[in-house]
Subunit: 96 residues, 7 copies
């Protein structure tokens, strides 16, 4: 596969590791130029997090493996941008 | 036909292939410079996806053929931009 | 008449020809530099489409003739911009 | 009077002349660099139109005379910008 | 006093002089680089107008005197910006 | 203390001195490059004003002293930006 | 850990030290290029503050230690951006 440039993932994760370590680990995955996690909702057990990744050649397999190793679950893939040009969608990804 | 520069499609697709592969395949269609898919809604059987494609000379036939091969259905074509200049519409495409 | 630079039209069209062909034909009218059609509403018989055209010297007569030949009807002309300078209105065109 | 740079007028006009001719005529008034008309509301008899004019030295008298000759009526003057600098207001003009 | 750079005033004025003359006169006050008036509300007797003035060294006294001479009343001063740098507020001025 | 770059204050002040003099005085405090006051609410006795100050090295003590001398009261400090870089917050300051 | 570039924290703090000192101290933590605090809510005992920090290499441990020393509590970490590229999320951080 080639040239996945942006991914937005809806993720459930436990409180540990904390969000800073979680985001740091994602930013270290091969092909990731930057990773931003925002907290959408939290309860006693889990955090619902929106993960946005950018790079020239994102590897969804490696990303999901890392999330899995950190105890998280990808609830849905909400946006995927591929190709030579980064295309901005007409609508933002769905409400979690 | 000449110079279709942007297309926004309202698509229903099965969960498999996943959205990353689906978007990657669309970005490989002749004339597509970039493809972005956002998840609008999902249930047990299908995903409702907004597909935005940009290029200098998009071929709707080839795009629809690829969506078809991937098990998807074009529910509606919500925006088409043609010509030498990419014209931004006054209103965003309709709510799916 | 001189220097019509932008037109926004509220158009009803049958499902055939499809929106890609319809937009492509409009972008080929003399004086049109770019044409974008967005789907506003659709039912079994017709599509309600917002047509935005830009150019240095748009010819409304030729545009209406082409829409007519494609089986469409101009329900209303919602925006017209004329002159040496393209003036942005303070309000977007009316809700269809 | 000197240096009126932008005018927004709330105008009622009959259906004839159509909006393209109406806007074209306004763009030809002395001092007008660009004219944009947007349809706010229409009924069987009249169109309610927002007229936005820009130039270095707009002449409201000549503008009103032209609107009058075209069968229209200026219902209200909603924005006036004068001076060496074009100042953007903190609020858009009132709802018609 | 030094360096008042922007003023927003909430003004009541009679219908005469009309808004174009009123704005033109304000743009001629010493220190005013540009004046924009927007109609907020109108009834049979008066117009409620938002006046925005910009310059390097606005003189509120001279501005109020001119408004007074034109038959208007400053209902409130809604924004004042002073200093070497024009600071944009975090909130727009209050609703009239 | 070093390098306070932006302050937003929620202030109550009497009608006298008027807002232009009040803002002018604040813009003259040491370290203030620009001051903007917007009227949030007014009643018979007091004006509720949002004060936004920018500079390279704002001195909150001197600012509060000036507000005090002008008869005003700082109801709350709603935003503070410090450091070499001016960081824009993700949310605007709270509603007064 | 490497290259945490932006942090948004939801913090509860006592009224003393005041917000200016609190923000100033945060801007002095190693790796912080800029710190902005906005008041979200306040009652008699505490202030609820949104803290936004930017830098090339933010140290969450040192940040939390400083907040702790100043009597504050990190209620939640609402956004973390890591990597070579600062990625803007598709949604703002959750409502506090």
């Amino acid at each position: 596969m080639a040239s996945v440039r942006r991914l937005v993932l809806d993720v459930l994760k436990p409180h540990d590791p904390p969000l800073v370590d979680f985001t740091d680990q994602l930013s270290r995955v091969d092909g990731v130029a930057g990773a931003t996690c925002t907290l959408v909702e939290l309860d006693r057990e889990v955090q619902n997090v929106e993960v946005t990744l950018e790079g020239e050649n994102l590897d969804i397999g490696a990303v999901e493996e890392t999330i899995d190793e950190l105890g998280g679950t990808v609830h849905s893939i909400d946006l995927v941008a591929c190709g030579d040009r980064l295309v901005t969608p007409q609508r933002p990804p769905r409400d979690a």
